[in-house]
Symmetry: C2
Subunit: 455 residues, 2 copies
């Protein structure tokens, strides 16, 4: 059965509270609050370097971040625990009153991004901006790497339809919910994850397990029972015992039951190119050219590319573990760096980890053959588009939450404009991210000031 989009409108995957943070954020915030260090601080969240074999990343996770910021507060349980843990009464009172009141500029979900481009910039009183660091890094980082993996699959798959089968192998159910959402942004057409289908209004899809086939005295009996019991499209799993026999059993069931639409067979093991060719031949010879072929079994973007290059007669694929954890890049080298404090630009000088000072803008041209990293307020190149947009002011969202459809369109449009050298799976070359002369001057001046060598 394939379910429609009945159910609730798109929601976020939020499960975290104010204590879902690193202890040092609380310690630093306590110190700032005690000293009245509440100057406006700007932090910039970016990826330091692209993982190997990534020519681009896909921004994701923003909606969960905004939901978190809007509802940020310590509840009574949190405060009691913090007091028992040793924070003093004054600090507890200040924590109790604390909300996120800042502004956020961000790159919209679904946009293609590159190293060193701020995905999100927070400007807020220093304690607030500090406390939210851990959650923002977590969500933007993992959701962006999952979205990127899904986008690579969508690119590699060509005309093959893709379905999210990842729930059983993601790193927890929260990650599975996020993967269902970002894979929809990447252009997957359905998810096996029923909770995600409900929460995000996605199409739910599923086949049958080997255990179902094993629960009947023959494959043929299992197939007939499934058709009888499950309304709508049916996909027959044919590799429980012997695949050629299984294909024949499915053909027999489809003919006997006089099915005329919506049926598919699923191949989950062996050489999927060869087996899909065998299945296509058998189906066609039986006059069932309308029956689709669905494959699964630990597939990734390289398998999909192989199917396409081999012109394997595969119509759809279910993608699970390797994709749902972004197996070759399960984490990104993200940073959340203080770039301005009380109007004064600041930067870090640690070896290999220096940062660019001040609030920024990212300017995108068409085609996407170079981006420009600039100071927030300087004018951009003619015809270029500013990617960082205000999404929160004074702790409240600017406008409504962005939909999955809108994010999917943004991604499709960016990928269309991205050079093939950046899109390709192997040894891609990301477009350069250039630094504007004004930002370069600010960096040099800030470095001189910090090194005490300012003129």
């Amino acid at each position: 059965m394939t379910l429609g989009t009945a159910g609730r409108p798109s929601e976020t995957t939020l499960t975290a509270g104010a204590l879902t943070t690193d202890l040092y954020e609380l310690n630093m915030a306590a110190s700032y609050l005690r000293r009245g260090l509440a100057e406006p601080a700007t932090f910039s969240l970016f990826v330091r370097a692209l993982p190997r074999d990534r020519g681009f990343l896909v921004a994701a996770g923003l909606e969960d971040c905004l939901s978190y910021l809007e509802s940020f507060a310590f509840n009574d349980d949190d405060l009691r625990w913090l007091e028992a843990a040793g924070f003093d009464h004054d600090t507890i009172a200040k924590f109790a009153a604390l909300r996120f009141t800042g502004d956020v500029f961000a790159i919209a979900e679904g946009r293609v991004i590159f190293a060193n481009e701020p995905i999100l910039e927070v400007t807020a009183p220093l304690p607030e901006a500090q406390l939210v660091e851990t959650f923002l890094l977590n969500q933007i980082g993992y959701q962006s790497t999952l979205a990127t993996k899904a986008a690579r699959c969508r690119i590699a798959a060509g005309g093959i339809e893709l379905v999210d089968f990842a729930l059983r192998r993601t790193q927890g159910t929260e990650a599975a919910m996020a993967f269902a959402r970002v894979s929809a942004i990447a252009g997957f057409s359905a998810t096996s994850n029923v909770a995600a289908a409900r929460r995000f209004g996605l199409r739910a899809a599923g086949t049958m397990a080997h255990s179902y086939v094993q629960s009947f005295s023959s494959e043929r009996d299992a197939f007939s029972a499934f058709v009888e019991d499950i309304p709508g499209a049916v996909t027959f799993l044919v590799d429980t015992y012997d695949t050629p026999n299984g294909i024949d059993a499915a053909i027999g069931a489809i003919k006997d039951l006089k099915l005329t639409e919506g049926a598919a067979i699923r191949l989950d093991s062996g050489d999927l190119v060869a087996t899909s060719q065998l299945a296509r031949r058998k189906l066609d010879e039986a006059g069932l050219s309308w029956v689709r072929i669905f494959v699964s079994g630990g597939l990734d973007e390289y398998d999909l590319e192989h199917f396409r290059r081999s012109q394997a007669p595969i119509d759809a694929a279910g993608l699970g573990g390797r994709i749902g954890v972004a197996q070759d890049a399960p984490t990104l080298d993200t940073a959340y760096k203080l770039v301005q404090l009380g109007g004064r630009p600041v930067m870090k000088l640690s070896p290999g980890k220096d940062s660019l000072p001040g609030p920024k803008q990212v300017w995108r041209q068409n085609p996407i053959d170079r981006d420009l990293l600039a100071t927030r307020d300087e004018p951009g190149p003619a015809g270029a588009e500013p990617l960082l947009q205000p999404v929160m002011r004074g702790g409240r969202r600017v406008g409504a939450a962005s939909s999955i459809d809108a994010a999917r369109q943004r991604l499709a449009s960016d990928l269309d404009r991205l050079p093939e050298t950046a899109r390709r799976l192997r040894e891609p070359i990301p477009p350069p991210v250039e630094v504007s002369p004004r930002l370069a001057s600010l960096r040099d001046a800030t470095r001189r000031t910090l090194e005490g060598t300012a003129p």
Copy 2:
């Protein structure tokens, strides 16, 4: 500040409901319910093959599975959504009444396990046993691979104390909670994750961020302010600008403030062996041999081994992204296979994915130089220990939830008894898992029956 273990007792990380499953589980369960196929079914959950460079795995995730099974039920929202999505009234009524009433045998959390060993075996009426597949695979799979990664770090670290710093780079906050818990099982001594410290009664620990140092006019001012504001142990981050200067600033602060215990410096960039040697020399020359050296920055078990082999004067390390997602093995090749139905052993014959029939027992000897996979009821070798123990009967836990401390002790004991060839980081050799003659006979007989070649 380092927080103690104030707060609530150990809890699980459960966030999933009955719809946190694949659609096909619901379709198959609906079909079974309609047909009255409620015979007792046994499913076996195991890992098909160890990932590369893994000589063992650490079982984890059981407690969350048991909590899920105990509370398994469709709520009114679930049922309304399923009805709107097309399930018929009879099925909805049966779903409404459905609870998990089965028995579970499992290997305890913290035990060392190998490929093909059932970590968990569920025996329940077929629809119940089928519906819970997806959640059980998700939790056992990802928690076990995270626990294994943490255990490898603990082995590699020798005398270096380890702290969980992973929250900002895990795949979601649920995974971060699980990682805090399994890293404690692996022997980490603290976590930066405050929510996890509260939930599981762990020690919370933290240092300071570069942004804190940047928020003051000098490192020295930042260090003094932190000592003044944050009671307890203080760790000075010394690499914001120039590490040798930072070390000197920390030494100055420690001496001026007359600290005599609990202080440490943290190195987060550059060549940590060389920098730790420089820091140790400077500290010792200043009479501060009691000040500890803490390192961080994308470290993994190979870095820890390098530190130990280099005899780097490193006392403690914070481990984040590479460990918190098990970067080189973020997912396991888990399976949940029907092995018995209504007393009849069954198995799958798919190429490369065949399974062993019937309920099983895993027998462990001392030292752990071979395990024996046997039928559930046959006697084990003299002196061997049966790993699969009853943990749930009739849908209720047998005994109380197991504690983190108990799991840590189990892991430490198994690792002590595991040969060095299996423990080592590179090209380890897992001990063989042998199949008892009785289980081999059952497999051969079942295969003949399924292939129609039984005599």
